[in-house]
Symmetry: C2
Subunit: 158 residues, 2 copies
């Protein structure tokens, strides 16, 4: 099973509709679920200590959604970069040798707590660019879909 | 002015709606337009020579949309990677010292012709990952929006 643990709700209907489309396309390949945990309020005026509190609060909610056997890939701007074929190989190898349950964690706008960071089995950098974290959800789903297409040697579009 | 020259039409309404949303958000910052050129039919059974023909056909349509004074940034998997702040600096420097008209070129699913490659003033790699080229349009617009927010020192979300 593939699980995405994400912080916050998707507000744009159009974005949600694209996410739903990829969940549908993924059905023949794997069970894929999205778990949303509540984001904490973080005004721009927050001190770094207050931001740390936000990350800790969100972090404990993220960790509550992860079981011991799950292999956790944290989306992280300091993570490793993979191309689509490498990602596909990663997923395939993890599911064969490590755990059939892979959980991708997409933190909130302030990033994740140290505890979430420590729980991660791997850290993955999608791009050097910073994207709206809600859009990251769509980008990750599209890549997981592409990964399965690559694994099965099926044609996919660019 | 910022121009995106893209190959093919967006078929998903939801994706078009997100693209329109970013075009709207960009209005206070810069004139931003999208020019779509027709994609050529490229069946999986095509030979490499036939694919080259497709790229040349699409390429000549792309080049017809670019004026001499425009600074062309080609989206390319072998291009340079920038983080969001570096991209913002690039746009700002190009518009100050080189040309106020920046054109981003997003090729079709087979990539672009040698002529388009030769016309490019810079090549930009969004990510090591291969994304659906229609989704790249949204990702580029979100980054341009973010670039202007960074230039103006305005808060933006992650």
């Amino acid at each position: 099973m593939i699980k995405l643990v994400c912080v916050g709700k998707i507000k744009e209907k159009a974005l949600q509709s694209l996410i739903d489309e990829y969940l549908k396309r993924l059905q023949p390949y794997s069970k894929v679920i999205i778990v949303e945990v509540d984001d904490a309020i973080a005004p721009q005026s927050n001190s770094e200590a207050q931001n740390e509190q936000v990350r800790n609060l969100e972090g404990s909610k993220i960790l509550a959604q992860i079981k011991d056997n799950e292999y956790v890939i944290l989306l992280d701007l300091k993570g490793q970069m993979w191309d689509s074929i490498e990602l596909s190989n990663q997923i395939s190898e993890i599911q064969t040798y490590k755990s059939s349950d892979i959980t991708f964690v997409i933190g909130g706008s302030l990033g994740v707590s140290k505890a979430v960071f420590a729980r991660a089995n791997a850290k993955w950098q999608l791009s050097k660019l910073t994207f709206l974290h809600q859009m990251v959800r769509l980008m990750v789903l599209e890549q997981i879909y592409r990964s399965y297409k690559i694994m099965r040697n099926e044609p996919y579009h660019k």
